[in-house]
């Protein structure tokens, strides 16, 4: 049962990253490349009817996490208190930026909300990368002190935003250190590419030729950072390849990641506008699954030798609840698939003329 819900949760998270990922990416593109009003319009039109529903995946992930793994939910949400609250504020800011911008036609008003939307998208991409970094690096569960004594129950912890050394190997970890920042940067680059690909797919804007260039160039930067992160991974995880050796079929994930990455280099020669988006989705999903399967069955590793890591087995809810959950979940997920099919069918093709922001 735990394994089933683990796979459900990770799949939902991957869907969330792909869907809301292109929203964040569109925001970053908006921040750096949209100079003319027509460009801005093209970008917001491309995500207009979708972003709200995309964000629901985050709420749904939160709900499923709460229900299936309540101890993990309690432990990680209280432990990562400050960054989560900031993510909330950024999500609020981004959403109102999108909603409010078109409501009043005034240059300053529009500028403020354009920036709110762009900056919040950028920071959210960065924070989500940092969050993933924290999860693979692990935390000091039980808040064990220098003498090896837990000051709290074994599954609770609290992390400040940073410590004075910014090192992932420090005794007192912070949320932000150079390792988690590295993952944050990778997230920003990846989502920028991903967002650009979505805009290519959904619009015929004048920006498109330029975006192809941007994606092409950013690929090299991304490749560089991916190589750097792989070469230092052993610093935070003693044996990152263990799972892949024990379960060779897991190798599918890194392979998918690489296929996605190399596919992106051909962005200029694709005939269909949707193809680059498929490759950036593959890269995102593959990268995410590779990362989480390297720590499986851990969900949150412990950095001290005193308290055990949180695994899918020691944080799950009881079997009866998890079993009834399967019945309603299957019904719900089928419905969700139907909704999304309808939504993407109705708004299929290019979105230049939908006129988001005028409603």
């Amino acid at each position: 049962m735990e394994l089933f819900w683990y796979m459900v949760l990770m799949t939902m998270l991957a869907i969330y990253i792909i869907l809301d990922g292109y929203d964040f990416g569109a925001g970053i593109i908006h921040l750096f490349f949209a100079k003319k009003e027509a460009d801005k319009k093209a970008i917001t039109n491309a995500i207009g009817p979708f972003w709200d529903a995309n964000e629901v995946w985050l709420i749904a992930v939160g709900g499923v996490l709460f229900f299936a793994f309540p101890t993990l939910y309690a432990s990680s949400f209280s432990g990562f208190y400050l960054p989560l609250m900031m993510i909330l504020w950024l999500l609020i800011f981004r959403a109102i930026g999108l909603e409010l911008r078109g409501q009043i036609h005034n240059r300053l008003w529009e500028k403020i909300w354009d920036k709110a939307f762009g900056v919040a998208s950028l920071l959210l991409a960065l924070f989500f990368g940092i969050a993933l970094g924290n999860v693979v690096r692990g935390v000091n569960l039980g808040m064990v002190n220098e003498t090896g004594v837990s000051t709290h129950e074994a599954h609770y912890f609290f992390l400040p935003l940073w410590n004075d050394s910014f090192s992932p190997e420090a005794n007192h970890l912070g949320i932000i250190d150079w390792f988690t920042i590295l993952l944050g940067i990778i997230a920003v680059i990846t989502l920028t590419i991903h967002g650009a690909n979505w805009i290519l797919y959904k619009t015929n804007s004048d920006l498109n030729p330029k975006l192809k260039q941007v994606v092409f160039k950013l690929n090299f930067v991304l490749l560089f950072f991916v190589i750097v992160s792989i070469s230092i991974w052993h610093l935070i995880e003693s044996n990152p390849f263990e799972n892949f050796i024990n379960y060779p079929w897991l190798a599918i994930f890194p392979i998918v990641t690489l296929v996605g990455l190399f596919g992106l280099f051909k962005v200029k020669s694709f005939k269909k506008d949707g193809t680059p988006f498929v490759f950036s989705s593959l890269f995102l999903a593959g990268g995410f699954f590779t990362t989480v399967s390297s720590i499986f069955p851990n969900l949150l590793p412990s950095t001290n030798g005193v308290n055990p890591s949180l695994t899918i087995y020691n944080v799950a809810a009881e079997d009866y609840g998890l079993t009834v959950g399967v019945y309603w979940f299957v019904i719900a997920i089928v419905l969700v698939a139907v909704y999304f099919t309808i939504q993407y069918k109705v708004f299929k093709g290019k979105m230049d003329n939908i006129g988001y922001g005028d409603h």
């Binding site: 207009g48 009817p49 979708f50 709200d52 529903a53 964000e55 629901v56 985050l58 709420i59 749904a60 939160g62 709900g63 499923v64 709460f66 229900f67 309540p70 101890t71 939910y73 309690a74 432990s75 990680s76 949400f77 209280s78 432990g79 208190y81 989560l84 609250m85 909330l88 504020w89 999500l91 609020i92 959403a95 109102i96 909603e99 409010l100 409501q103 009043i104 709290h152 609770y156 912890f157 609290f158 809810a317 009881e318 009866y320 609840g321 009834v324 959950g325 309603w328 719900a332 419905l335 969700v336 909704y339 999304f340 309808i342 939504q343 109705v346 708004f347 939908i354 006129g355 409603h359």
Partner: protein, 443 residues
């Protein structure tokens, strides 16, 4: 520890109070929009379609505010109430996860279609998407009230040795006797907010002599929905909720009514009075004898237990707050019924649009349904204190063990600032749309 609990409670109370200002309008308004769109399909009168589109626009802003202020609610269970989440997540996680999966997806997918898809879909399918948005928002309310009901009256659980609550009967969550009365009470209250809002805009248009035809339509629709919902909210739903409290939380009921001492020969109903905790009595009260016994047990002389019969550590933590919240809710509810009866009577005599004093009253009524809804919610939540899960888990046992009071205070201030900004923007935009009027929405 005391500080931390105080800030945690303040933060939750503040964020949920602000959040609930939005869904109470969207739940009621979605029904009224569906009604307008349905009238259009039946009569082909374009005015109804314009009305639906006008309210849709206000709905969209309101919905967005509801969503963005709702996400923190889900997060805060984990961030601020980690111990509570850990112990009860196996149970309330069910209903909260179902809310996400069943209602949010439905609402958000079809809201996009409803807002942008009129041309693509045609009117019939546009109506269907509107109906699905309505269904989603009411399902969301249902699952939240199901969660709330479990905290008020826990069912279908067992408690393990480590203190964890484990679900052992899924269907009990939905056959909870607390659930249906609370749900319909709440939905009727939402409909009050929406119908008062719609009739206030109608009254504003008529008094302002702008968009008068729409003013009449809004006023008529608002008043009829308003009469219906303000009666339902009191009887039978409010009555049934109160009977649940009497039966399952007698100490709460005593505090709500301000009964400090059990009195023989039937309890009086207090219209106005001020609870005096030190001397354990009501000051300055005006009361009618024996009515409360009758309302509660249909027996003029039935005994109602006073606070003196209970252990003081189980008293609601804020007795005056609870007492006033309850009395404000009931008082406002009574005013709503009275006003709507008079307005309907005038409408029936075809004199409503000329009776200016009623129009003025209706226009200035806008904040009061919000106050009534909020105090109603407070009555329920303050009434449950000092318990998170009634009689089983105390609020003091539910907070996050590792989050310090400084962090909670910091984020509380953050929320206050951010929500203040949101509130101002919301009022500004809705004011602008209302002032522009329905006809300008078309193009």
């Amino acid at each position: 520890m005391e500080d931390m609990l105080f800030y945690d409670r303040m933060q939750f109370a503040f964020t949920i109070t602000f959040h609930y200002l939005f869904p109470q309008l969207t739940m009621g308004l979605s029904l009224m929009i569906v009604y307008f769109k349905w009238c259009f399909l039946k009569t082909d009168n374009l005015q109804y379609n314009d009305a639906a589109k006008f309210w849709m626009r206000i709905f969209a802003i309101n919905f967005a505010m509801g969503v963005v202020t709702g996400i923190p609610m889900e997060f805060q269970f984990g961030t601020n109430w980690a111990k509570f989440s850990e112990l009860t997540g196996g149970i309330i996680g069910q209903t909260l996860a179902m809310e996400g999966m069943f209602s949010f997806f439905l609402e958000s997918s079809f809201l996009g279609l409803f807002l942008f898809g009129e041309k693509l879909l045609g009117h019939k399918w546009h109506f269907v998407t509107g109906f699905l948005v309505f269904l989603g928002s009411w399902a969301s309310g249902f699952l939240i009230i199901a969660t709330h009901s479990w905290m008020q009256y826990p069912v279908g659980y067992e408690i393990l040795e480590n203190g964890k609550f484990v679900l052992n009967n899924f269907s009990a969550l939905f056959s909870n006797p607390w659930l249906l009365p609370s749900y319909f009470h709440n939905q009727a209250a939402s409909l009050i907010t929406a119908s008062f809002f719609v009739s206030a805009v109608g009254a504003f248009y008529i008094l302002n002599k702008k968009h008068v035809e729409f003013g009449k339509l809004f006023l008529k629709t608002g008043v009829i929905f308003g009469l219906f919902s303000s009666i339902i909210v009191a009887f039978p739903t409010g009555d049934l909720v109160a009977k649940n409290v009497v039966k399952h939380q007698p100490v709460t009921f005593a505090a709500m009514e301000g009964i400090f001492q059990t009195e023989e020969g039937g309890a009086e109903i207090v219209l106005i009075g001020q609870p005096n905790i030190l001397e354990k009595k009501l000051d300055n009260k005006i009361a009618v004898p024996n009515i409360l016994s009758f309302l509660t047990y249909q027996n003029w002389n039935a005994e109602i237990k006073g606070l003196n019969e209970f252990d003081s550590k189980d008293y609601p933590t804020n007795i005056p707050g609870l007492y006033y919240a309850y009395h404000i809710m009931v008082g406002l509810g009574t005013i709503f019924i009275g006003l709507m009866i008079i307005a309907t009577f005038q409408l029936y005599r075809k004199k409503l649009y000329e009776t200016h004093w009623i129009l003025w009253c209706l226009m200035f009524m806008i904040p009061f349904p919000y106050i009534a809804n909020t105090t109603g919610w407070y009555t329920a939540e303050l009434g449950r204190q000092p318990w998170l899960v009634y009689n089983l888990l105390r609020t003091s046992e539910g907070a996050s063990p590792t989050v310090s009071s400084g962090n909670t205070l910091f984020t509380l201030l953050g929320f206050v600032g951010l929500y203040l900004l949101l509130g101002i923007l919301f009022l500004m935009l809705v004011g602008k749309i209302v002032n522009k009027g329905p006809q300008l929405i078309k193009h």
